[in-house]
């Protein structure tokens, strides 16, 4: 009995020593491996490439026009359907299924990523149609019609226009407009407004010879570019360039003409037209413009007169810019990524567009 007790005591002593010793081993702090995923479109579907894995992976098959990030989901837009791809479950679901009589466009994710506005264009008979603005709640999945415009086409002399959106001014106000030969926009307060005013041009206005368009918003402040496309039209004296719009007050901040723009902190990144005589966004490069000290920095140096740079976007944590280049003669598109930390940029492969870069 004594010996048994002694043996048990010895084992206990060794075990206690073992665990105390184990606890004294050098503990390395756990470092989370960062990961960057790039989602983009090809002609046959939605694709993903990741820093964690070589190659690319097709997530969804189909013909899509645009991809937008909304919280942990991707809004995958096509004209005939509205799909959402859940990044957590890797599952896709149809918010608006394919319907021959309905077209969908104008997808706009709210600044908090919680809601997605979109336009339904519903065919009525042979020539008529109506426009409806809808809202989809990313969290609950509920859909809600915000308003509808009068039916169009009944009057053969009538004007055919479509409802259009141009992003959210803040979490409540959506920029909505009517597009005929050009598009003009005004803020629509979700939850309060029930229709669009007849005169709607306070946040962007286009007419023959003139383009004035909001390209980015940040907490109620809009950033846009006004441009005289045909100066012969008696518009020579109008001020043009990059402006910010605060409480309906337009302040020009530079003479730059850009086709797209994103804001990150105090810095605007823009696809600036190097040769402003062009009517389309060809011959453009990526520039930064610091709103505080008004300094400008040119990030890319490969503007040509045969391709465009458009659809500039910023990754969720602000390290990566992405944009689409399009070669005009062949219509070949390519996604480009600029790593602001490494100060390096590179294209993804040919035939890609509409990238969403997500940093984990």
């Amino acid at each position: 009995m004594k010996y048994a007790l002694a043996i048990i005591g010895a084992i206990l002593a060794i075990a206690v020593g073992f665990f105390v010793g184990r606890s004294q081993r050098a503990v390395m702090p756990e470092q989370k491996q960062e990961q960057v995923d790039i989602y983009y479109l090809r002609a046959d579907g939605l694709y993903k490439t990741s820093s964690a894995k070589e190659g690319e992976e097709r997530l969804l098959e189909g013909e899509f026009r645009n991809v937008l990030a909304a919280q942990d989901k991707l809004v995958v837009a096509s004209e005939s359907a509205f799909l959402v791809y859940n990044l957590l479950t890797n599952q896709a679901s149809a918010i608006e299924p394919v319907t021959p009589q309905v077209n969908y466009f104008g997808y706009a994710v709210s600044t908090d990523g919680l809601r997605v506005a979109y336009v339904k264009n519903i065919q009525l008979g042979d020539i008529g149609f109506k426009n409806e603005l809808w809202l989809w709640d990313v969290g609950s999945g509920e859909k809600k019609k915000l308003f509808q415009e009068p039916e169009l086409g009944a009057d053969p002399e009538g004007v055919y226009y479509t409802l259009v959106t141009n992003g959210w001014l803040d979490d409540k106000r959506l920029l909505v407009g009517r597009a005929y030969e050009g598009a003009s926009f005004c803020p629509f307060t979700v939850g309060t407004d029930t229709k669009l005013p007849q005169q709607c041009s306070s946040y962007g206005f286009e007419q023959i010879g003139l383009s004035d368009r909001i390209l980015a918003t940040d907490n109620g402040v809009a950033y846009g570019v006004k441009r005289i496309v045909f100066p012969e039209g008696g518009l020579q004296r109008d001020q043009t360039g990059l402006y910010q719009l605060v409480n309906d007050q337009k302040q020009f901040i530079s003479a730059d003409i850009a086709s797209s723009l994103v804001k990150s902190g105090d810095v605007l990144y823009l696809t600036k037209l190097v040769d402003e005589a062009n009517f389309s966004p060809i011959k453009s490069d990526i520039f930064s413009f610091n709103l505080k000290d008004e300094s400008t920095n040119r990030l890319t140096h490969d503007a040509t007169s045969v391709d465009t740079k458009e659809n500039l976007r910023l990754s969720n944590k602000g390290r990566f810019l992405s944009w689409d280049s399009n070669q005009i003669s062949t219509n070949a598109t390519k996604v480009w990524v600029y790593d602001l930390k490494l100060n390096q940029y590179y294209p993804l492969s040919e035939g890609t567009w509409s990238a969403v870069v997500i940093e984990h």
């Binding site: 020593g17 010793g21 184990r22 100060n343 590179y346």
Partner: protein, 382 residues
């Protein structure tokens, strides 16, 4: 079995036990040793350091970036692209007077500048693998050669393979991943020039390049006002008793009318075809015609009296002008219609109002960038 006697029976005598404290101490030491053994086993070897997390941006950049250009040697060949097609054609020659600058992407300035040799070649070697950018400089931005009374710049530009052009110095651009890079160079001709003058010099300004003038005169050095007259794409001015003409397009200075006078080189007027020069000589309207098409001398009225005035003159066309003038005898101020009559310019009094002859417009000034021209003369398309 024989019985043992009582005194023979061995008596058991227990061993003397160690003191209790010794037992406790021994046990404690044993436990401590066993604990130490367990501790040693438990601690084991130190864990290998965890690998540093890989930067995912670097992973993507390595995967998608073009291979960095660092061939053993890169040769740039600059050529005079006479037909501006961006291709080094057989009949075209190498072009010097340019240089190549290299920097690593993200750096503010060049770490290497290499001028072209007489054959237009620049060779760069020994580049370590990195992400490089290149730009091209035209070496000479001085005012350029003299064309008579004018200096004109010879500016050059780069012609790309698509036939488009870009100015010197070029913007920084990615170094092409090639071992031989051909760069076409052609003379830059502005689309148009702003023509204007200061007190005594004429300036030709390219409105897209306001750092330097494209051309300027060096004819007058006296500090007085001298009138330059722009007609079409030619500039006229009085100098050294002759009317000189500078052809802006062809960069040619020649004499238009000789001899020619203007009392102060400023108060004279030229007909639209630059064949008739009207000036004041002691208050008399005087004139000279090129090739003597209508003689020279004072302008008389149809009665044969000299016309006096302040050079308020408008040419109606190449051969007729109107002037506010005074008959030297009657002292009556009238508007005279003046034309060539019997081999000389003669004035005919009219009943037109004096304001028929528009006064000279107030000279418009022009200022952009570093340039301030006192009198804007006009624009010339090249």
């Amino acid at each position: 079995m024989p019985e043992l006697q009582e005194e023979q029976i061995p008596v058991y005598q227990p061993q003397p036990t160690p003191p209790k404290w010794l037992l406790i101490a021994g046990g404690f030491v044993t436990i401590l040793l066993l604990f130490g053994l367990g501790f040693w086993l438990g601690k084991g070897k130190p864990l290998p350091p965890k690998p540093t997390p890989i930067d995912p941006g670097q992973v993507l950049a390595d995967r998608f970036s073009q291979p960095v250009a660092a061939p053993g040697q890169i040769t740039f060949i600059f050529f005079n692209d006479a037909n501006r097609n961006g291709v080094f054609d057989q009949n075209e020659l190498g072009y010097s007077n340019v240089s190549v600058e290299l920097r690593r992407r993200g750096q503010p300035s060049a770490f290497q500048t290499v001028p072209a040799d007489t054959q237009g070649r620049v060779t760069v070697s020994g580049l370590t693998p990195a992400d490089y950018e290149v730009r091209y400089w035209f070496a000479d931005f001085d005012l350029g050669p003299s064309y008579g009374d004018f200096n004109m710049r010879n500016w050059y530009e780069i012609v790309t393979p698509t036939g488009a052009s870009k100015p010197f110095p070029s913007d920084w651009e990615s170094l092409p991943n090639e071992t031989e890079i051909k760069v076409g160079v052609a003379e830059y001709i502005p689309d148009k020039l702003i023509v204007g003058q200061t007190q005594s010099q004429l300036f030709l300004v390219d409105p897209t390049k306001l750092e330097f003038s494209y051309g300027e005169s060096h004819v007058f050095t006296d500090g007085n006002w001298h009138r330059f007259t722009l007609i079409g794409d030619k500039v006229y001015y009085l100098y050294n008793n002759e009317l000189r003409q500078f052809d802006i397009k062809n960069r040619l200075t020649q004499t238009a009318i000789k001899p020619a006078y203007g009392i102060d080189d400023f108060n004279y007027r030229l007909s639209p075809d630059a064949k008739t020069l009207v000036y004041l000589d002691n208050g008399e309207l005087s004139y000279i015609t090129r090739d003597d098409w209508c003689g020279q001398g004072a302008i008389f009225d149809s009665e044969g009296y000299r016309l006096l005035g302040n050079l308020q003159v408008n040419f109606r066309d190449n051969q007729q002008l109107v002037a506010v003038a005074r008959n030297s005898t009657t002292n009556i101020v009238k508007v005279y219609l003046i034309g060539c009559h019997e081999g000389r310019l003669e004035g005919f009094a009219t009943d037109w109002a004096l304001d028929t002859v528009a006064p000279d417009p107030v000279p418009a000034a022009w200022q952009q960038g570093n340039f301030k021209l006192d009198i804007l003369l006009g624009e010339v398309d090249l």
